[in-house]
Symmetry: C2
């Protein structure tokens, strides 16, 4: 295992120590470093909390900051944080306007966030939930509730975070988050495995010349394993599945995220985006917002995902708003 770490058991907590040392904009609630919250709670604002396993930086905790989220419960690598941690984050960030949970569709996270919402309810804190399920590959159309949440949750955070920053109500912020969720689709492709520190070896094996389309960010099986194709052919296959999900008309606009899974050079992500742009041009669909880089990773996995949000006017405006976290800055032109 080729990793910079000390005892693998301390991986997450030592990472968090580094984060708190580097970034005074975030702190933690209830004396538990895994209850990460903004140091800059905004009075009266709807709070937004997320949470999930570690190993996906900048997801999840990296989006806590101005114009995005207020707190994140931090689990072990690829493990759900506890209900208690989610509840402590909730209590800390609630300003009387309620709290929205936005997280990915994984059973452990759902159970624990549900329990945290019940605990918060006993305290009179109103909680709503939006569960990201953007991964096209994890089920057929009609069974979207089975789909995993992957990188597309970034756009849900961005839209909902901007709405909350504008002072909208919990119902409104939840409505906007849910719309962003419903209009966002992601397809991923993996080229190599990741290594979970406490396990110490590759999560799965994949041939030196193979790719797996649709693999999940914890190594969940995808929909096809084939010889690695040229970049343009890979993008064509990924985008065909994304286009098939929504009715794109000439003149429509989108937000695009080309996300590296951890071990893929940034150069290659731009080669992928080049083809994404060509395909959107062919349909006369306009790219209004684009981010390219590592936004939701799987440790050192080589691979990439493409997320597309089918914009309406409201999402276009909100996704274009400024944001500033220790891991992500958006300064509109």
């Amino acid at each position: 295992m080729k990793k910079f770490l000390n005892d693998p058991v301390d991986f997450v907590d030592e990472m968090l120590e580094g984060i708190y040392r580097a970034h005074p904009q975030v702190t933690y609630a209830a004396g538990d470093k895994r209850c990460l919250v903004t140091a800059n709670v905004k009075p009266g604002k709807v709070g937004i909390a997320t949470g999930g396993g570690s190993g996906h930086l900048p997801l999840f905790l990296g989006y806590v900051g101005d114009g995005m989220l207020d707190g994140a419960a931090v689990g072990g690598v690829f493990q759900s944080p506890s209900a208690e941690q989610m509840y402590q984050v909730t209590k800390h960030i609630d300003q009387g306007a309620g709290v929205l949970y936005i997280y990915g569709n994984y059973s452990g996270d759902i159970i624990n966030f549900d329990m945290a919402a019940e605990l918060a309810d006993l305290d009179g804190i109103q909680v709503k939930q939006v569960v990201g399920n953007d991964d096209v590959a994890s089920s057929v159309v009609g069974e979207e509730h089975k789909r995993r949440g992957v990188a597309g949750i970034f756009f849900v955070y961005k839209a909902a975070g901007a709405a909350a920053a504008e002072g909208l109500s919990l119902d409104e912020v939840a409505r906007i988050a849910d719309k962003a969720r419903l209009r966002t689709r992601t397809m991923g492709v993996a080229l190599s495995s990741c290594v979970v520190p406490e396990i110490g070896h590759a999560t799965f094996s994949i041939g030196e010349d193979e790719m797996e389309i649709g693999m999940g960010i914890h190594g969940e099986p995808g929909i096809s394993r084939t010889k690695l194709a040229p970049a343009d052919a890979v993008v064509d296959e990924m985008m065909a599945r994304i286009f098939a999900e929504q009715d794109y008309k000439a003149g429509d606009s989108v937000a695009v995220l080309v996300n590296g899974l951890g071990g893929t050079p940034l150069e290659e992500l731009y080669i992928l985006f080049r083809r994404v742009g060509q395909l959107l041009d062919e349909r006369s669909v306009t790219v209004k917002h684009v981010w390219i880089g590592e936004f939701a990773t799987s440790m050192e996995m080589a691979g990439a995902s493409i997320s597309v949000t089918h914009l309406d006017e409201e999402l276009d405006r909100l996704i274009g708003k400024p944001a500033g976290t220790p891991f992500f800055q958006h300064v509109p032109a």
Copy 2:
């Protein structure tokens, strides 16, 4: 070779097509996509140009933008751009106040930038040069002119870019860049090789349990190859060499960059920074600025580098100024 690419020959140009599609803040001079320049040339300002091989994103071209650089000549993967390309960038960005070249200490780049400066001189454009040589591992003390430029050039760009944005003269911007250069040191460690697209196999081999301290960002040999040690021990060795180079006193302050070489998860960089911060605490040295992430990569190489700039008041102030490029945003708190 597990890469997202089409024909390896087109790697750099297709990457650039993706960049120009994504980022209207940059464009190119003289009809040559490899002459990347800001779309927002500031009248009267000293121009700052850089250049070097591809494969190091966001280095070099990623630092072209407000508060940093004005242009970058883009070479093939790990290859110097041509003197003609550097000259065209120079002509485009010159506003009558002269142009500063800031680039790394590699013989091809030096020859070509020297030639470009001569061509510019024939046009009456005044050019000065500062050549980054922050890599402690590439020579002993006393032979600093043999040292390679690596990630620490980021701090030279940041200080000089802020100085130019303030309207300082070419002499002043060059003086500040040179001071940042002289006060910056970097140590790197590699855990795995990179793969150059047109070559298609690993540049070097390294054992499954080995690390190489001091390896260059093109795979140049380092100073020791040993068993991979715990993260804290790796940092202790790197920082000991950095501390040995400058006279750090209690009360001094520094800027720190913990840089991933491409294939190392962000989580691990924070584990490294945790230890860097502890060592600085022991010496009562204050971290005034810190960046952690991928700033100068070597394709998919696993590994990291630590750069430290020993600040004085002027560098502290300038490095803290805002900057905004397609690849890097700095919004001071």
